[in-house]
Amino acid sequence: MTWAVTGTGAVASVGRDPGELFANLCAGVSGVGELKGFDLSRHDARFAYEVDDRPEPGADVPRRATALLVDAIAQAARDAGLDERDLSGVPVLIGTGLRELRSVELWQRDGTDFPPQDLHFGTALRAAFNADDTHTFSNACSAGLYALALATDLLDGGTAETVIVAGVDVLTETMYGLLERVQPVPPERVRPFDRNRAGVLMGEGAAAVVLTRTPAAGRKVHGVVRSVAVNCDAYHVTAPDPGGIAEAIREAQAAAGRKPADIDLVMVHGTGTLLNDEAEAVALADVFGEDADKPLMTAIKSMTGHTSGASGLLNLVVTLTALAEGRVPPTVGLDDPVDEAAGFRIVTGEAARAPLAVAQLNAFGFGGVNAVAIVEAAR
């Protein structure tokens, strides 16, 4: 089975739609900047990859995650020719790491009005799109690709013809602050797979795709999803396990009928943390073996920051354009790769040009929740 992507939408610190995002990533534009919505006197760390949409600098407002999500879904629905005023009956699967917890923080700190039913996204999606089959999956940093996996199951089982899959996250101050406690030197940027990486910085964004069993005649198809494998390390609440990651990669490739040598592009999870990048590199080297030097690889978190639940689907939206155009954004800030990744063909410096047919997308989250997708160009 393959499932066609007929619509895409995206918003991140470095682009407000899929086209702008891809162009900026290929140009090596980073969305990093000084914190815009927190009280700086409370934090040692200074940087993040935020979407600049607050009404005034330094003041935060509730429901920013919801607004980004609505934006991305509307883009994708329009692109696919769906009636965005009435998405009733269309399953909408949302992956998120932190849902509307930033609004809970503002309620706790400032007494900002925030009713419990706004904690999940269904309430806003019913109001915006008349959507009545919405599902908020809070699956940490692999939530977006987990939601994609469930969408393929719905299409495969014949219970839906069309599914919208979306991912979203904005910074929460608690997650940002607690990361400061485990990263002794506050990073100034995300440097995936670099020997001198200091850790992860959070980013903001949303992405959405419309996935369908049989696209209408004449409808543009951005690419096809071949498989999504999901599992759990059952190992540690924050640390990854290379074994669980490798299993997810093998399962995704097998389900798509592809071997490591068939993969032209790997969109790595690449968070820039000491633990993730090492575990991911070890798993990739293990699965790809002697073919580990064949696929191009890149880590867009070097320019978007870690957008958590949105990251897997931002990767997907970027991948579809990369496959269509034969162009791969670079990993900025990667100067001196770690030993585990030394044999990989990670794109650095300029964007790379190459004919591309098959891509693999990695996403891993706290608690060892792994998701790996195989995606192919529309032909």
Binding site: S41, L119, R126
Partner: protein, 313 residues
């Protein structure tokens, strides 16, 4: 493919089994103490939702004979998915950590709070404690979340990803949650069920306690009930009602109603799973089927429904 329930675990102040959801203990029962049920080992730094979930998960896995009393898993770890539903699970961690940042600075925060700041901590912690390596899902989906979790658990089985899924709902009661809910008291407990491919259950000799029928969604309770009725093809023997202030009396007129939220406290994301466990208790006491479970009313973004059937004798 038939999906059946092969185990239940119920951990509420007034009910420690599916049967006690039908015949509960006294209304002034004390809160559940996870350390009394599990021992202290592994509970440190775990939030209340996770601790309650551990209790219900262990009970359900034992009831389904998937783990023995020593905790050893009787099936392949990759064959078991975990699907957890909770809306308020980590509100306590978020508000406490935010308060620390406001009153002091981020440097005063505890690194042990880091995993609990991610809303999926309950699902992943249950997987880690019991070694369950299949797909691991956390739903935070509002009033319908528990029934949605059952739907996704069954979906993972029907898609062939796993043979069985531990589906669990939990809502803790604490000061932070009460403040967030304007004073409402949640169930302060957890319910879990094991869903299983009927063939896989039969193969290992696990009896079916209930059969999962179709799951539906709709904008509004009447629409959802209409779809449930179409799916079931017959009037229910019992209607498990949603948590809503304005339940129309005319709906399913004459059908006995079961209001678990009114009896045990605001169940929210745990409601659907509690309803499934209560249906098992109902069938075990000779209750007829089908049972309709409903979560989410007209004031919510949607209403979800599920048909639960009495297993063949």
């Amino acid at each position: 493919m038939n999906v059946v329930v092969t185990g239940t675990g119920v951990v509420l102040p007034r009910a420690a089994s599916a049967g006690e959801l039908i015949e509960p203990g006294p209304a002034d029962a004390p809160p559940v103490e996870p350390k009394d049920l599990l021992g202290r080992k592994g509970l440190r730094y775990k939030d209340r939702a996770t601790q309650l979930a551990y209790c219900a998960a262990r009970a359900a896995l034992r009831d389904a004979a998937l783990v023995d009393t020593a905790g050893a898993l009787a099936v392949a770890p990759l064959s078991v998915a975990v699907v957890v539903s909770s809306n308020y699970g980590n509100i306590d961690t978020i508000t406490r950590a935010m308060d620390t940042i406001t009153r002091e600075t981020a440097a005063a925060g505890s690194p042990m709070d880091l995993p609990n700041a991610s809303s999926n901590v309950v699902a992943s912690s249950v997987a880690i404690r019991f070694g369950l390596r299949g797909p691991n899902l956390m739903l935070c989906n509002g009033a319908t979340s528990g029934i949605d979790a059952l739907r996704w658990g069954a979906g993972l089985i029907r898609a062939g990803r796993v043979a069985r899924a531990l589906v669990l709902g939990v809502e803790p009661d604490n000061e932070a949650v009460r403040a967030f809910l304007g004073g409402a008291r949640t169930v302060d407990g957890s319910a879990a069920v094991v869903l299983e491919d009927a063939a896989a259950a039969a193969e290992r000799g696990a009896p079916a306690l209930a059969v999962l029928g179709d799951a539906v969604r709709g904008a509004g309770l009447a629409a959802s009930l209409g779809r449930l009725s179409d799916a079931a093809g017959e009037r229910p023997a019992l209607w498990q009602v949603p948590e809503t202030d304005d339940l129309p009396g005319a709906l399913l007129d004459g059908v006995p109603r079961q209001d678990l939220g009114a009896r045990f406290g605001l169940a929210s994301g745990a409601l659907g799973v509690l309803q499934c466990a209560a249906a098992v208790g109902w069938f075990a006491r000779g209750g007829a089927g089908p049972v309709y479970a409903s979560a989410g009313g007209d004031a919510d973004d949607a209403s979800a429904g599920l048909v639960l059937l009495r297993p063949a004798a």
